[in-house]
């Protein structure tokens, strides 16, 4: 009985691209505990929508007691969230899940795709290692500038308007990037490619997965991913993204 549902007050909530929003929330109980790669459950103020929205934590300021979420307003729930004004109070649960294991001192590559980019920002701040950041976008660029204080940033875009035309692997090859450890978050096809690239180059690869969730705490078994070995919950090669993840070692999961 260590966790509780907490009221958070929205300090700001503004668009940073055509459909991505940045929300700063005052919620010190979560800020004091959160580590890079964890997420929070947000309960929207709309009685027709029952399930919490799991949203990854983009930045944490334990001193100020704030967390920052950067999310894409794409479904009804996140669109609702994007409409909330400064001062709105929302319920949160968290921090949830297991974040990245910070392998300080080992040369690192942080690879993010689309709305998988935000959780890497706090990681970039906290990771004490020689590091590069590779970000993949479809077209519109967001959040990329904010990484520049912490690492060199390399960009791939599908439309080729910014950085390398193509995906993050194309950018890695183009810029001849190298690392001992990959920390990645993004769409499944990207993670699949990174897994193959990283493991074939003998890197340690940490992937943050996404799946539709219900409870967010590991009870309902909605958000499973296939695993290479028998999992220790149901013993059926299914791990729970919310509880056992969202960050997994690449060799653990079947993508």
């Amino acid at each position: 009985m260590s966790l509780s549902m907490i009221d958070g007050k929205i300090l700001s909530n503004e668009a940073i691209s055509s459909d991505c929003y940045s929300m700063m929330i005052s919620v010190s109980d979560i800020a004091s505990l959160a580590v890079p790669g964890q997420f929070v459950n947000i309960y929207v103020n709309n009685e027709s929508k029952l399930l919490p929205r799991p949203i990854s934590i983009c930045e944490v300021d334990a001193y100020k007691g704030t967390i920052r979420l950067v999310y894409r307003a794409v479904g009804a729930g996140t669109k609702e969230l994007s409409s909330y004004l400064e001062g709105t109070v929302i319920k949160l649960l968290g921090p949830l899940g297991n974040g990245y294991e910070l392998l300080n001192g080992k040369k690192a590559m942080l690879i993010g795709g689309g709305i998988g980019i935000p959780p890497l920002l706090e990681l970039a701040k906290r990771l004490d290692a020689d590091k590069s950041v590779v970000l993949g976008f479809r077209d519109e660029i967001f959040l990329a500038d904010e990484f520049k204080d912490y690492a060199d940033v390399y960009i791939a875009s599908e439309d080729g308007k910014t950085g390398v035309k193509g995906n993050v692997i194309d950018a890695i090859r183009e810029y001849k990037l190298d690392a001992e450890v990959i920390y990645a978050c993004g769409p499944t096809p990207m993670l699949r490619a990174i897994k193959e690239y990283g493991l074939s180059n003998n890197m340690i690869v940490q992937l943050s997965l996404e799946e539709r969730m219900a409870c967010g705490i590991g009870a309902c078994l909605a958000c499973v991913c296939k695993t290479a070995n028998v999992d220790d919950h149901s013993f059926v090669n299914n791990s729970r993204v919310c509880k056992d993840g969202p960050v997994f070692r690449a060799e653990e999961v079947v993508l």
Partner: protein, 300 residues
């Protein structure tokens, strides 16, 4: 004030338990909820062997509800007996074990394994809409339900509660078929089969295409079916379906349920169960009701 109820010959400290599948075996929710406060924990369906469940996505949200097609992923009875029962025995709460299977033999295998275990009641899931073979086949035909109930009763001395599907023309006919076969109690309702289509992507939202609809959206259907069944059979009912708060739980009890399961509400508010128990106490105080048993089936 008395909150304790007798259900199938077992005494529970209060009538509130959880709907199978929404609460695991209690371990995860024990971080939020003092399990000692619950009348019972009803565990996630357990089969004779581990089940991997369905592909993902397994859940989605609907208006005032949700669809799930988890497909009864579970570690099987061996792990359940070794890990989950001992975990729950640390707490002062009842244990209702939900049992699933693909075939008569599989159900019997599980109930036999549980017969010498220190659990209170077996809830037989013959109504999961998300499993291709078995399960639901027993829950939509009175003859099949009657038969499986009889077979299960032959293989266990534990009280047997048959969990009924709402996806039937006549819930009373099903209830009577189970009662005639010797069921000690009934639990209803399981989820209503539904579907969601992603209009923008023009595809099914769930990998399984269909899923079971739960949540407050279906509560009026649960109240109706509990009422109809309570007025047609003499075995007790564990009522469920969209209970979000104490009033929802009380509706099911007034309609005839002896105990009530809280399901989807756990996802909406991890503290739902204990808040509902508190809300029932407040209602009883406000209305000078000394014994919760006086509310069971009080609306005719």
């Amino acid at each position: 004030m008395n909150l304790s109820v007798d259900f199938c010959g077992v005494s529970f400290k209060n009538p509130i338990t959880v709907a199978s599948g929404t609460f695991g075996s209690g371990a995860e929710y024990s971080e939020f909820v003092d399990l000692n406060k619950l009348g019972a924990v009803t565990t996630k369906g357990v089969a004779n062997k581990p089940w991997a469940g369905n592909d993902t996505p397994r859940v989605c949200e609907t208006y005032g509800g949700m669809l799930n097609a988890v497909g009864l992923q579970n570690p099987g009875i061996d792990v359940f007996i070794k890990r989950d029962i001992p975990f729950l025995k640390q707490f002062d709460t009842g244990i209702i074990v939900n049992v699933c299977g693909h075939s008569e033999e599989e159900y019997i295998d599980v109930v036999e394994r549980l017969s010498d275990q220190d659990v209170d009641i077996l809830e037989i899931n013959v109504s999961c809409p998300n499993v291709k073979e078995g399960g639901i086949a027993f829950g939509q035909k009175p003859d099949a339900l009657n038969h499986i109930t009889k077979e299960i009763k032959k293989h266990t001395n534990k009280p047997v509660v048959m969990k009924l599907s709402p996806n039937v023309t006549d819930i009373v006919e099903m209830a009577k078929a189970a009662e005639e076969a010797g069921a000690d109690g009934l639990s209803l309702i399981n989820t209503i089969t539904g579907m969601k289509i992603d209009v923008d992507r023009r595809n099914f939202v769930l990998a399984n295409k269909t899923g079971g609809l739960s949540g407050p959206a279906i509560h009026p259907v649960a109240v109706r079916m509990v009422y109809q069944v309570a007025n047609s059979v003499s075995i007790p009912i564990l009522g469920m379906g969209g209970v979000m708060n104490a009033y929802d739980a009380l509706e099911l009890m007034l309609a005839g349920a002896t105990m009530v399961s809280v399901g989807t509400a756990n996802f909406v508010n991890p503290f739902a169960t204990v808040e509902i128990i508190e809300g029932i106490k407040e209602y009883m105080e406000r209305n000078n009701i000394d014994d919760i048993n006086s509310l069971i089936g009080a609306v005719k």
